[in-house]
């Protein structure tokens, strides 16, 4: 994609992610969803900037803050709403729900709740892409908290030893549920954990979609060229509760206020103006369109049917 087209497209998807999530917050408050709602406010630049560095044939293994990566690939907003509502037309037919809406036909792996169970799985996708002789890449996402689990370690080590075409994104949003960074790690940062695996690790401003995209681009190019995996730490802030039921009153207000000033969607819009890719009306139009789309999708999904039992034990096994 040409530079301008890419930039505008990234902005559109970031704006759409924001609008869809804001809309779902309203839906949550109105009792339209089944359970809680996980959103990725202030993760938009990470989700979109990384996904934009991939080809459609590359594989994504995202988690719960990465709606933008799904949207980039073509997941429809109503499908994620349908997932949070348990609708029959959700990507899992209502068998799973909430954030479990990955679509394998878009080369997105649907994660389970256990974090970061998707990390080893992503190494397997990378393994398969390499095994088949393609130059495809797999990209896996997790949070700061999830780095504490064994699966993080085993996946990075395996990928490094096997030189797999894998890019690992750590979304450092300062908290794991209520747990602050100081109770998650004593390391200086997450990027330096790459040292333990002999792979490159970089820290990047997770608010700046261009910075994220550049880091992802480098890591993807490296993987594609057969030089193995990398780790990218993208720093941001979780601006909502862990999920919408959580008031997150454990977050010091100064911290929240500091980060509130750095809205990645707004910063991206401003940058587009600065670069002359869009004018201010153009930026506003993208955002208005995103909000309109989100509302349309909500209206469309609302009356979709719920699934009824249909040979449930039979569905457990593939033919």
């Amino acid at each position: 994609m040409a530079e301008r087209d890419l930039a505008v497209r990234m902005f559109e998807v970031m704006a759409l992610m924001r609008a869809v999530e804001d809309r779902m917050v309203t839906m949550y408050r109105q009792g339209e969803l089944l359970g809680s709602l996980y959103t990725g406010h202030w993760h938009e630049a990470i989700a979109v900037g990384t996904a934009a560095a991939l080809r459609p044939t590359d594989v994504l293994a995202p988690l719960h803050r990465d709606l933008g990566a799904h949207l980039w690939r073509g997941l429809e907003p109503w499908q994620v709403m349908a997932s949070f509502m348990g609708k029959a037309a959700s990507p899992t037919g209502g068998r799973d729900g909430t954030l479990h809406y990955g679509r394998l036909d878009l080369n997105i792996i649907n994660p389970v709740s256990h974090i970061p169970n998707n990390y080893p799985v992503a190494t397997g996708a990378a393994f398969a892409l390499k095994y088949r002789g393609t130059d495809g890449v797999a990209m896996a996402y997790c949070g700061d908290g999830a780095t504490s689990r064994g699966d993080f370690h085993e996946a990075l080590n395996l990928a490094a030893v096997q030189r797999l075409p894998c890019v690992f994104i750590v979304e450092n949003n300062q908290y794991a549920y209520s747990t602050p960074l100081t109770l998650t790690t004593a390391a200086a940062d997450f990027a330096s954990k790459a040292v333990a695996y002999g792979m490159p690790g970089v820290q990047v401003d997770g608010i700046d979609v261009f910075a994220v995209h550049e880091a992802a681009d480098n890591a993807v190019a490296r993987a594609r060229a057969g030089h193995g995996p990398s780790l990218i730490e993208a720093v941001t802030m979780r601006m909502h509760g862990h999920a919408e039921h959580d008031p997150a009153d454990y977050v010091p207000s100064e911290l929240a206020e500091t980060w509130a000033k750095r809205d990645p969607v707004e910063e991206c819009g401003a940058r587009l103006v600065e670069l002359g890719f869009l004018d201010e009306d153009g930026v506003a139009a993208v955002q208005a369109q995103a909000r309109k789309t989100a509302l349309e999708h909500r209206n469309k999904v609302l009356d979709m049917p719920m699934p009824e039992p249909d040979d449930e034990e039979g569905r457990v096994y593939a033919d």
């Binding site: 068998r95 709740s113 999830a146 504490s148 064994g150 209520s178 009824e308």
Partner: protein, 330 residues
């Protein structure tokens, strides 16, 4: 403070908190570890206020490291402490499976050293939480030598079994029903006497059929029994309370009296704990049985998220009533 709580009710969740807090007051060697258990008071707020009451030395907010903090608890227990480990959802105990079954549960047999750890696991379905937030985990562990398993149904048992679990010199898996947390209340104050591990409770006497169940099933069973009483069918409801070791004497006494047995649990049927109960009942009571032991259980599927699917996946009152009626009258 009995005088304060005498006038109020105590929920299942509050009973757990009260018992846990009272053991922590009573025994300085008891500490709590898990994710978000401190400042946040736990995902379900069972340990709300504990950080202020007991300080960060005894209420430890762990990184997301189920295997790690389980191993930590085992090591601490070997040194004489009495850790209480909270899994945020029972589902996540899978990540600590190796530490629990190989290290913790086998340790006493291997070495003769006691290893007193209590594992708190909020378990079960009916909350639209889907395949990896709704699991029953008793069948993963009941086979394992060295672990005890309790699953209280009432606030009183929740308190009494928590106290026994913490005082027990063995690893105890304490299955707390997150569905019952705020749905079951009893008038306070609670007794804080231990409820012995390994002892079932006949919670309703009856003559025609024995319903053997635990946790949520006890409440469903009592409701079914009440309705069937109106039809003149007398159902005995046995609340197992402890799954391992199983109170075979109480079960056998009940089944020998009624000659008919139905086992009920929410967990999936295939090799669910009902299989062990059914196998044992027919071994112990075969010559008194008027028919096969019948299992009512969840479907052999993951727990689906969507309401109609989830409702169909786990036992509901109509199935329980009709099964009991059929067994009692044929």
């Amino acid at each position: 403070m009995p005088t304060d709580t005498a006038v109020t009710t105590v929920s299942y969740l509050e009973a757990i908190a009260e018992a846990l807090g009272s053991e922590m007051e009573a025994d300085p060697d008891v500490f709590l570890i898990g994710e978000d258990v401190g400042q946040f008071g736990g995902a379900f707020k069972v340990t709300k206020g504990f950080l202020d009451r007991f300080g960060p030395r005894r209420v430890v907010d762990s990184p997301i490291a189920e295997s790690g903090f389980t191993g930590l608890a085992c090591g601490a227990a070997l040194m004489g402490l009495r850790p209480v480990v909270e899994f945020q959802f029972a589902d996540f105990i899978s990540c600590a499976f190796d530490q629990i079954i190989n290290n913790c549960s086998r340790h006493h047999y291997r070495t003769g050293n006691p290893i007193p750890v209590t594992f708190r696991a909020p378990f079960g379905a009916r909350l639209r939480a889907g395949p990896t937030h709704s699991q029953s985990v008793e069948a993963y562990f009941a086979h394992v030598p060295g672990l005890k398993i309790v699953a209280p149904a009432t606030p009183q048992d929740a308190a009494g079994l928590m106290i026994s679990a913490i005082r027990d010199n063995n690893p105890v898996l304490y299955l707390e029903s997150k569905y019952l947390y705020r749905r079951i209340e009893v008038p306070g104050p609670l007794s804080l006497d231990p409820v012995p591990i390994g002892s079932a409770n006949v919670v309703r006497e009856g003559r025609r059929v024995s319903l053997l169940t635990y946790s949520v099933g006890v409440h469903q069973g009592l409701e079914a029994a009440e309705q069937l009483a109106g039809e003149g069918i007398s159902v005995e409801v046995v609340d197992l309370r402890t799954l391992v070791p199983l109170d075979v004497a109480t079960i056998a006494a009940s089944v020998n009296k009624t000659s008919r047995a139905v086992v009920l649990h929410e967990d999936a049927r295939r090799l669910g704990y009902g299989a062990e109960i059914a196998a044992t009942v027919q071994e112990e009571c075969f010559w008194r049985l008027d028919g096969p032991v019948v299992r009512i259980a969840g479907k052999n599927t993951p727990i689906p998220t969507s309401p109609l699917l989830e409702d169909a996946a786990v036992p509901q009152l109509p199935e329980i009533i009709s099964t009991l009626r059929r067994v009692a009258t044929t």
